[in-house]
């Protein structure tokens, strides 16, 4: 029988989000057109604070990749990159982004860009994966501009002083190279100020995510995936701080007035891995329809860098960027997940095994079974991808998700 359609309560802050993101893109396009500021390209968990403190406008190709996925354009561009020698098995942010570039198209054209903003320098950090280096190298060669990298070891179990010192030194080594390109010299006080703003933004973002501990939750993962834009691209600026104050106020108001993200929250799920950007809206509706709220996720929590400390900006940046969930060993990841399950009162876990994102598919080495043995929380694995929708079998996944929800309902 057809049932009533249950809608996810729309956040009013989305207008402020749009404005904040539009202004960010305006600053970038102005810099691209007028040259009033130098442009650095940066990985999403790269040294954004250092770049902002030295007066760069900062552009994030991964954010562009997510935009291509969310706007359902990635499938149009991935084959172009594949035809140019990029495997369909590598990061689909990369293949969608390079494919779009090869076709001279970008969703940013709606924001007044002729093309993606030309970089003066590219800076990456391998703390998410090593493919970002290959991705940035394509553009460094194309534009004939310098490329710098922070090479973080993968699979960090214990965060030892030698790892922290090594990464802190790599951050310091960036400075003279950045100074050659930047309009202004490195200024430690400015860097401290940027790290302070970054920390403030991250704390606000954490508080936003933590409102989902409340039953019923005022926010769900599909909202968070959209509202995380400023913490990714404006981390270290007042703009991100200002935006998350607005969003947090709205969510706290929701809690006060008992307004929930979905109309009738009965089950609370955790989403591990990447979003399916091209299915965000339909996924959101699917879970709401079944009175299920995805209250927390590995993905959104990855941008909480509490360890940033203006007193020691280099070392604390190293700690924050090496503590990132994605770069940790399975044992370290399991510890993080165990705590999140308890904190957010999770009934079930969905692991998204993304075909082109090995580093953020956390169900490939038995972690899902080890965690289940420990906390007995049922889990479901679904196969898909962040941008390449050809890797996702929708009907099969819907059946699996609906069955999983029924399975969890019988346990309540």
């Amino acid at each position: 029988m057809s049932e009533e359609i249950k809608e996810v309560a729309k956040l009013q802050s989305v207008n402020a989000l749009r404005k904040t993101m539009d202004e960010y893109f305006l600053r970038l396009s102005t810099a691209a057109e007028t040259g009033n500021k130098k442009i650095a390209w940066c990985t999403s968990v790269g040294p954004a604070e250092l770049l902002y403190s030295m007066g760069f406008e900062v552009y994030f190709p991964e954010n562009h990749g997510a935009m291509l996925g969310a706007s359902k354009l990635a499938d149009k561009y991935i084959p172009t990159a594949v035809a140019h020698g990029y495997s369909p098995d590598i990061c689909s942010y990369l293949t969608a982004d390079i494919g779009a570039f090869l076709q001279n198209e970008t969703p940013l054209q709606k924001n007044g860009f002729k093309s993606v903003p030309k970089p003066d320098i590219l800076v990456y950090n391998t703390n998410q994966c090593h493919e970002v280096g290959d991705w940035f190298m394509y553009y460094a060669k194309h534009f004939n501009v310098p490329i710098l990298g922070v090479n973080t070891p993968l699979w960090i179990n214990e965060l030892t002083p030698s790892i922290i010192n090594g990464i802190a030194n790599q951050f310091k080594d960036l400075v003279p190279e950045l100074e050659k390109v930047a309009i202004q010299k490195f200024d430690l006080e400015k860097f401290r100020e940027t790290v302070h703003l970054s920390h403030e933004g991250c704390v606000l973002w954490r508080k936003v995510l933590e409102t989902a501990k409340h039953k019923p939750s005022p926010i769900n993962f599909f909202d968070s995936a959209i509202h995380m834009g400023p913490i990714v691209v404006m981390r270290g600026t007042q703009y991100a701080v200002d935006y998350y104050k607005i969003l947090l106020t709205e969510l706290e108001e929701r809690i006060k007035n008992n307004i929930s993200s979905i109309p009738n929250e009965k089950l609370r799920l955790y989403w591990d891995g990447m979003p399916l950007w091209y299915k965000l809206s339909s996924m959101s509706k699917l879970f709401a329809h079944h009175d299920t709220c995805v209250v927390a996720s590995t993905y959104c929590n990855s941008w909480v860098f509490d360890d940033l400390d203006p007193k020691d900006p280099f070392e604390s940046s190293a700690i924050a960027y090496c503590k990132l969930f994605i770069v940790r060993s399975d044992d370290a990841k399991q510890n993080v997940l165990e705590k999140l399950m308890t904190d957010f009162s999770i009934d079930g876990i969905i692991y998204h095994d993304a075909k082109t994102c090995a580093r953020n598919s956390n169900n490939r080495f038995g972690l899902q079974n080890r965690l289940n043995e420990k906390n007995k929380i049922p889990y479901l694995e679904i196969n898909g991808d962040l941008c390449d929708s050809r890797c996702y079998s929708e009907e099969q996944s819907i059946i699996a998700i609906e069955t999983f929800i029924k399975q969890l309902s019988t346990r309540k």
């Binding site: 029988m1 095994d353 009907e395 069955t403 019988t410 346990r411």
Partner: protein, 251 residues
């Protein structure tokens, strides 16, 4: 009044007619095609010719919510687990091999779904795999069993991909493998894919169109897992489970 359970699968639609004592009194199978309504109507027409039918009909499978007639839908995995548990009345694991899905379901002592998994990424080892190979080699699916019975040894099929499996088989034929030995290899590769889903620990129940149409596969399962069974007309289990589930829920 008789109740109808319908499992609208990707390849076939399975229907059961159930009497007041909750016994199946008739079965019907039809190709799903592209019109779920038409497939369901074929089932209903067949059963309603001689029996008075009760609505809603109980549905599961891909087309479970696409019908224009009154229906109550279920998850086919929950329905399958329910029917299998009613049949054996004990904790078990189910491997269900259908047209394009292979499912692994564990059922608790109380008859609840404890855990389930589905084939991931590709449909090798499902009905589509066998159909494609039969089509390419110009052998009818019906001939598979009789040919496999003549096998003297297994020829191992390695390829993950159904299409490339055919070229692999062509290579084997060139090297002198016989068709019976190759078909035995195909059957074993179907089993290999399904047991990759999870370790098998409990009493194992094999269901679906593939074991029904290829009984040798059930025998091969039993060779590997002695604590194993496959109920008669096992591909109708989910359709039957739909009826049983809704009786429990008074729908």
């Amino acid at each position: 009044m008789y109740k109808i359970g319908i499992d609208l699968g990707s390849s076939f639609t399975k229907g059961v007619l159930v009497d007041d004592n909750n016994n199946i009194i008739d079965y019907h199978l039809t190709r799903t095609g592209f019109d779920f309504n038409k497939a369901a109507q074929k089932i209903i027409d067949k059963f309603s010719a001689d029996h008075e039918i009760q609505y809603p009909v109980y549905t599961c499978g891909y087309g479970r919510e696409e019908l224009k007639i009154p229906f109550a839908s279920n998850s086919e995995i929950i329905a399958l687990a329910n029917a299998v548990f009613k049949h054996y009345n004990k904790k078990c694991s189910i491997i269900d091999i259908g047209g394009q899905d292979t499912k692994y379901v564990t059922v608790s002592e109380s008859g609840q779904v404890d855990k389930f998994k589905m084939n991931r990424k590709c449909a090798a080892g499902t009905g589509s795999f066998i159909e494609e190979i039969a089509f390419r080699l110009d052998i009818s699916v019906e001939e598979f069993t009789s040919l496999a019975k003549q096998a003297t040894e297994e020829t191992k099929i390695n390829s993950y991909c159904t299409v490339f499996a055919v070229s692999e088989i062509v290579g084997m034929i060139k090297k002198g493998s016989t068709m019976p030995n190759i078909i035995l290899g195909i059957y074993n590769s179907v089993i290999d894919r399904s047991v990759e889903l999870s370790p098998i620990e409990d009493f194992l129940v094999i269901t679906g169109g593939i074991p029904d149409n290829h009984p040798l596969i059930v025998n091969l399962f039993k060779k590997r897992f002695p604590n194993c069974d496959s109920p008669e007309k096992s591909q109708f289990m989910a359709a039957y489970g739909c009826v049983l589930l809704n009786l429990e829920n008074n729908i």
